[in-house]
């Protein structure tokens, strides 16, 4: 095998391994969530399980509330980051086009938005 082919082969192998690892991690987390949900339901049905102690501890520490805060914050963070990328994308896609259009058609009208596609301060 030439070094290039070996490199490609190794790369493919690593792709498979990393993909398996990611799927495995997600799978383990999902299984844990289902297992945990089952334990909660069993405990709620009245059967004493090891989950009872963990649940009362979680309730006392208000872990559910903190987790909910984390979900909310992560969701908001994700939304903000998406918005940043979208605006950067607008800036990238429209900047050069506008320049060329202006050269071809100098009297063209403009949307009047900022480079990032936001409403101008004076239009608010």
């Amino acid at each position: 095998l030439s070094e290039d082919r070996l490199e490609r082969l190794i790369s493919r192998g690593i792709d498979g391994l990393v993909g398996l690892l990611h799927t495995g991690i997600i799978g383990v987390v999902v299984i844990f969530i289902f297992f945990y949900a089952k334990e909660v339901l069993v405990a709620f049905a009245g059967k004493e399980t090891a989950a009872n102690l963990a649940l009362s501890l979680a309730a006392n520490l208000q872990l559910d509330r903190w987790l909910a805060y984390l979900v909310g914050a992560s969701g908001v963070g994700y939304g903000i980051r998406q918005r940043q990328v979208r605006r950067r994308n607008i800036e990238r896609m429209t900047g050069h086009n506008a320049e060329v259009e202006k050269q071809v058609h100098p009297t063209r009208t403009s949307s009047g938005l900022t480079a990032k596609g936001k409403t101008r301060r004076e239009d608010r």
Binding site: I14, V18, Y36, G46, N52, L55, A58, A59, R92
Partner: protein, 186 residues
């Protein structure tokens, strides 16, 4: 089990489910973000070479090729991959030689006037920096290492300038490995 405990338990189940979903979405978002930054850089480079009249040179063509490889490779950049690549290099005793695209690019850039060569090297450095950023931002253990290294490095640079060269060399050796992989496999 009290009702309060049941509600707390189920809230945690739902929250964990939501966190997994957000985690999956965020992973895709990171690749999109990296690609978007590379597209921006590539466009910026194109406008520069257009202004300078060097679009048809190997210096531009090959750098564009490199960036296109990075764009296709974005979803594969991860610390786990880097570690596995390094492990395989040691196990199979692979001695990486730079890919032809890169060698040709270096030669073509050297043949350009100094200001153009410098600008094109800057574009390449920026692309490599974006890859480093993408690599570090995707690995929570690296966040801490990065910041500790940054603070220690800054402090040391004040005393010894050679530290900066050393840190640059270490970071470059890691990202160069990913660059070679990107050029050979995508």
């Amino acid at each position: 089990m009290s009702d309060t405990e049941f509600v707390a338990g189920m809230s945690m189940v739902i929250s964990l489910g939501c966190l997994v979903a957000i985690g999956c979405l965020y992973r895709d978002f990171r690749s999109d973000n990296f690609r978007d930054q590379l597209f921006t850089l590539r466009d910026e480079m194109f406008l520069y070479v257009l202004n300078e009249g060097i679009t048809e040179t190997a210096a531009h063509r090959n750098l564009r090729l490199v960036m296109n490889h990075f764009i296709r490779y974005a979803h594969r950049v991860s610390v786990s991959r880097l570690l596995l690549l390094d492990l395989c290099d040691r196990v199979f005793a692979i001695r990486q030689s730079p890919p032809n695209v890169y060698v040709e690019w270096v030669e073509a850039v050297d043949a350009l006037p100094v200001h153009q060569a410098q600008r094109l090297r800057e574009f390449h450095d920026k692309a490599m920096f974006l890859m480093e950023k993408h690599l570090v931002s995707g690995s929570p253990p690296l966040w801490l290492t990065y910041w500790l290294g940054y603070v220690a490095g800054r402090a040391h640079i004040l005393i010894f300038k050679s530290t900066k060269t050393f840190i640059d060399r270490v970071i470059n050796s890691f990202t160069k490995r990913l660059e070679v992989d990107a050029l050979l496999t995508t």
